[in-house]
Symmetry: C2
Subunit: 311 residues, 2 copies
Amino acid sequence: MENSGACQGLTRPIRCIVKLGGAAITCKNELEKINEENLGTVSSQLRQAMSSGPDSQKILGMDWSKRPGESELCCDVGGFYDQISCDSSNFVVVHGAGSFGHFQASKSGVHKGGLDKSLVKAGFVATRISVTTLNLEIVRALAAAGIPSVGMSPFSCGWLTSERNLESADLSMVVKAIESGFVPVLHGDAVLDSQLVNVFGVYDRPPSEPEAVLLREIAVTEEGSWSVVKPNYGSTNKPVEITVAAHDTTGGMVTKIAEAAMIAKLGIDVYIVKAATSHSQRALSGEIRRGSIPDDWLGTVIKFAGKPAQH
Amino acid sequence: MENSGACQGLTRPIRCIVKLGGAAITCKNELEKINEENLGTVSSQLRQAMSSGPDSQKILGMDWSKRPGESELCCDVGGFYDQISCDSSNFVVVHGAGSFGHFQASKSGVHKGGLDKSLVKAGFVATRISVTTLNLEIVRALAAAGIPSVGMSPFSCGWLTSERNLESADLSMVVKAIESGFVPVLHGDAVLDSQLVNVFGVYDRPPSEPEAVLLREIAVTEEGSWSVVKPNYGSTNKPVEITVAAHDTTGGMVTKIAEAAMIAKLGIDVYIVKAATSHSQRALSGEIRRGSIPDDWLGTVIKFAGKPAQH
C-alpha cells in the first residue's frame, strides 16, 4: 500500500488506502443494517495501524454526538490536553454500500441513468440518503475509535460518473483533508458495489465451489497484464483463467482485479483481505509487506512486477 | 430572491435561496434535537413554493430509508410513473446548525483554529459529525415532502474558511446539482450560527427589549450602504443605529445585514422571516415581491435601491 507519489499535491506519500467491502461492514440479509461488531473491530485495527506511538496510549473518542435513545452528549475533553497529537494522517478509507443504497437503486433503476424521469430522480435522492447514512455511521465508528475521520461524498467532491465509469475526480479536497491530518472517508458506488461478497480474497472461480483456489499473489507488468505468482501454476507463467460464472454477472471480480492492477502499476501494493479478521490486522500491521507471504495468512496481494524481460 | 445572473454556469437563474435558521429547525433547549414540527412545515411550504403544477398532484416521498425502530423500507414507486416530472430546480437551501455542533465546537474551541492541537482536531471531527447528522435529517425531511434534495458539505465542496471568513467557494458542484434538477442543501458554520435567535426579522435593538422595532424594508445602494425604508424614519434618510447589545457579542446581526446587503446588491431580494409561519409561506409564494409590503406581514425585506442620486 506504499505510494511512490501518485497523488499530486501531497507533501508526504499516502501510507495506505483501505477499502472496506460493503458486505463486511453491513448485514447482508437485512437492509440498511450495520454489522456493528465487524465495524468496531475494523475501526480498532485501523486505529492500531495508524498509531505510531505506543499502544498503551489511551484511546480518546472523537464522536461526541448523541446515540439513539440517549439524551446526553459526552466527551472526555480533559484527556486530550496531555495527549501527544497522534499523527494518523496519510490514510484514506473507501467503503462500499453493502445493504445500503441497493434497495433504492434497484427499485428506481437509477444505475441505468435518465435523470429526466421522475422515478430515476427520486431514486437518486433516495439512494444518496441511504449511502450517506452509512458513510456517517462509518465516520462515527472510526471517530469513536480515535481516528480523525471526515466523511466525503463522491458527488459533492466533484466526482462524476458517465456510463458508469469514473469521468472526473477532483481530489483536491481529499488532499487538503489529508494534509490537515484528517482521514478522508469516501463512499463508492451503491450500484456497482452491491454484487460483491465477503471472502478471503480473489479466487480462480466462484468461492462457493469446492475446487476454488485462493490466489495469494498476483504480479502486474508495466503493460497492465497480470499473472498469478502464488500458488505457482508452473513455469509457463500463463495467466490463470478466472471463471466468471453466475456469481459475477456484471463482471465485478474481473473489474476489481483490473482496478487493483492499475493501482499496483503505480507502485502501490494492493491487499484484498477479509475485513475484521487476523488476516486484515496482519496486512495493516505491515507484516505481509516485509517478507514473503506466510502460509497461514489468507488474502490476495497484487504487486507491481517491474519491467518485463525484452523479447 | 430573483437572481439576474450572479451564479455563472447556470442556464437559468436561481429562483430562490432559502436560509433556514438553526434556531427554527432545532430545539433550542435540547442539544442535537430536531424541531420535527417546524421542519415538516418548512418542507411542505418549500415544496409548495417549488411546485409549478397544480397543488392537487400527489406528494411522492423520496426518502425511502428506514426510520429508527422500523424494519421495513417503503416507497411508492408506482406513483412516479404517471407523475409529470416536477421541475423544482433552481432552488438552493442553506441551513444553520442550531443546537447541533455548538456543544462540540465550544468544548474544543475549534472556532479559534489550531488544528495541530489534539483537542481542536478532535473537536473539528466531532463538530462535523454533529452538523452532518443535522444536514442529513434536513435532506430526509425535504425528500419526504417530495423535494429532490441533495446534501452538500461546505468542507467537501471546497469551501475553506480562513480567519472565519469565506476564503474560497467552489460552487461548480452546486451548479451541476441545480442543472440536473436537484435542490442542493448546504450547511453553514456551526460556530458563527449558534448565536442567532428565532425572531420575525431584523430589529433595531435586541428583540427581547420592549422598544424593539421590526425593520420591514431595507434599501441597499450600489456602494453597499443601506437605509431603512419602512418604517419611515423621516426624510433625513439617515441610517438607523442598530444597537448591537449583549445578545450579539460576535456581531452576528450586523454581519447578517452586511451579507444580505451584498446579496441584494446583485439584484437578489433577501427576505429575513420566521420559519414555518404564514409569513414565511407568503414570502415563498411571491406575494410580498409583487407589491408593497402588506401591513399584516412580519419580516424584513432587503432590496437593491439602484444608483444613488448624484451630489
